[in-house]
């Protein structure tokens, strides 16, 4: 972790949604994370593993069932609503669907200018000037600021969403699959815009994706989620080249390689279990391909440090010292 210090801390964050009589959908289960200033954390997992919910919890768009979230020493869940509202601009979300996240009845100038008006920046001319500056930063033509969202392409709309987040002068950006709905040719451009701005303003970022190869390019650390839990967390290089959790290994084996031998893909048996009926013991044991020990079916493994700064939630994960 960088020496800048911790920006956001999530401790035992849990989100259960009611799902009928006496049943709950365990979207996020006891997740603890820390984000340092300027750091990029990649959050990977299959669809339905709770990564979007975790993203929304971390920027307080959902209220956790249990757990704590601290921003810079402030307990965000135990402050009055108006104080929380003032802190919100510091945590900004970039949404997956750039059409749904822009109000169809507002012009781009109104959309990007909203955070400025909330910050009570006064004067139409000053707001317009700043909006044009922000649009320039994300590579949009400021002269189009009077148009409506439907007059832009998907990539342009995503740039508008980024400009709006930037207008808040955030410290942490949570990007939820920001390029998943875009053409491949546009994806790289949008990622580049995000990285440039992150470097320029020293922003911390949580980059959510189902694609571990995309995440590995942009992140310093990677967290792998399975069924509402973080099962592996560590420096990006370590997680990619020396994965400790069998699930991470399976994800990585599915990534196509160029110029090196493709390892045989590890196919996981069965489907991801329902988050309404999470398996007892290790929640991955129903699909695990390793030789199991009794604990796998009885005790839920916590995250253990298996190498320096590298954690895995697996009974079978050996630390380097134990392996040799």
């Amino acid at each position: 972790m960088s020496s800048d210090g911790v920006l956001l801390t999530a401790a035992h964050v849990t989100k259960h949604f009611p799902a009928g009589k006496r049943r709950v959908l365990r979207a996020v289960d006891d997740v603890s994370l820390e984000i340092a200033r300027g750091e990029t954390l990649g959050l990977v997992g299959e669809s339905g593993c709770g990564k979007t919910t975790l993203g929304k919890l971390l920027c307080l768009l959902e209220e956790p069932t249990r757990g704590e979230i601290w921003l810079d020493g402030t307990d965000l869940l135990h402050i009055p609503p108006n104080e929380l509202r003032e802190l919100r601009p510091r945590l900004q979300m970039i949404f997956q669907d750039p059409f749904a996240s822009l109000n169809p009845h507002k012009t781009i100038e109104q959309i990007v200018g909203l955070p400025l008006r909330i910050k009570s920046l006064r004067g139409k001319a000053r707001i317009r000037e700043r909006v044009h500056e922000l649009l320039g930063m994300v590579g949009l033509d400021p002269s189009q600021s009077g148009r409506f969202p439907h007059q832009f392409s998907g990539g342009q709309r995503q740039r508008i969403g980024i400009a709006r987040a930037l207008a808040c002068e955030p410290e942490l950006i949570i990007a939820d699959e920001p390029v998943a709905s875009l053409d491949v040719s546009i994806q790289a451009q949008i990622l580049q815009v995000l990285r440039d701005l992150q470097a320029r303003f020293h922003l911390a970022a949580i980059f959510i994706s189902h694609d571990i190869s995309v995440v590995s390019h942009v992140s310093q650390r990677i967290a792998v989620m399975y069924l509402g839990r973080v099962v592996e967390l560590g420096p990006a290089q370590d997680v990619i080249y020396d994965p400790k959790h069998p699930y991470t290994r399976a994800l990585l084996s599915a990534v196509p390689r160029v110029g090196e031998a493709q390892p045989e893909a590890t196919l996981l048996p069965g489907d991801i279990p329902s988050p309404i009926a999470v398996p007892r013991g290790c929640r991955f044991h129903t699909r695990c391909y390793l030789e199991q020990v009794t604990e796998c079916g009885t005790g839920e493994p916590g995250l253990r440090e298996v190498a320096n700064g590298h954690f895995a939630a697996c009974h079978l994960a050996r630390s380097k010292a134990a392996e040799s």
Binding site: K56, C59, L60, L61, R85, E86, L87, R88, P89, L91, Q92, M93, F95, D97, A100, S101, L102, N103, P104, H105, K106, L114, P115, I118, R147, F148, H150, Q151, G161, R164, C168
Partner: protein, 299 residues
């Protein structure tokens, strides 16, 4: 002939922007014609004092039941004839347009505001307020509207305030249901989450972000409700418990002419036709508006 198309024309959507929707509406000839008729009625009502040839309540004992000018015995003084008290029908019709439209607008505005405000609050905050309101609305829906209005008006006697309240009593329920349903959908939208994440206040999110998105169906509903209210007012006035007798109203006029409908057909027929034409036009215009503003409501 080659046609060049500018980028703006390609980008201009068919629906969704004000100019685009106006073009669609103008393309609907029936709606345009209906809109013009409605405007004529509004103009007639507004300008009644200036263009009415006579005082609508002035009784001319020497000109009782004068037929319209094209019938034998008709005169150019009373273009559409006079009623059994010798009052000029044309002037009374013009003033009648005034009260019908005035009451319609007043009742629709009240019900629109009340229904939308309550519906938005119920849909956004849910909880006990939504639960209580939904029971109230279910109860009101089971209430026969005209019978209730009859009871109120019979108790208070013809007066305008009671009439507006009686007509508005149940009308807000429709606006409530539309507003609540649309807010329920809108509150889950990402743009609402985004606004919350930016630090926007709840009143701003409701009025600034959600309201603009739910207005179109409410406008359509308001137009269609207007027709219902005009009919209801005319019905109550016909029964003698609507508009006070000192104010000329179409419903009252039809009722007055009822006894003479064979010997002096014009007294009841002209106001009857006016009700028919105005309500028909408002409905047709409302349906044209619906096709443009809210296509999913089309059947």
């Amino acid at each position: 002939m080659s046609q060049s198309v500018t980028e703006d024309e390609i980008l201009a959507p068919v629906a969704g922007t004000a100019p685009g929707m106006l073009r669609l509406l103008v393309g609907n000839r029936v709606a345009v014609a209906a809109g013009i008729v409605v405007l004529l009625f509004v103009a007639a009502g507004l300008l009644a004092p200036a263009i009415a040839p006579h005082d609508p309540n002035l009784q001319d004992p020497s000109a009782i039941r004068v037929p319209p000018f094209w019938q034998s015995g008709g005169s150019s003084t009373y273009l559409l004839g006079t009623d059994s008290l010798g009052r000029d029908l044309l002037s009374r019709m013009l003033y009648g347009a005034r009260i019908s439209i005035l009451l319609g607008v007043a009742v629709v505005l009240i019900t629109l505001l009340v229904g939308t405000a309550l519906g938005m609050a119920a849909g956004y905050f849910r909880g006990w307020f939504d639960a209580v309101m939904s029971r109230v609305v279910d109860t009101l829906l089971a209430f026969p509207f005209l019978i209730f209005a009859l009871a109120i008006m019979a108790a208070t006697g013809p007066n305008l305030v009671a009439l507006v309240l009686a007509l508005a009593f149940k009308g807000w329920v429709d606006f409530y249901r539309v507003a609540r349903g649309d807010v329920l959908a809108a509150r889950e939208a990402d743009y609402v989450a985004a606004a919350r994440g930016l630090g926007a206040s709840t009143p701003y999110i409701l009025l600034g972000e959600i309201l603009p998105n739910i207005i179109p169906p409410l406008i359509v509903l308001a137009t269609l409700r207007m027709a219902t209210i005009i009919i209801a007012e005319a019905s109550l006035s016909f029964l003698g418990i609507g508009v006070p007798p000192s104010i000329p109203a179409w419903g009252t006029m039809v009722s007055d002419g009822r006894a003479d409908v064979v010997s002096a057909w014009w007294i009841a027929t002209f106001p009857g036709l006016a009700i028919l034409l105005l309500v028909l036009s408002v409905n047709l215009f409302g349906e044209g508006l619906r096709d443009v503003l809210d296509p999913r409501m089309r059947r």
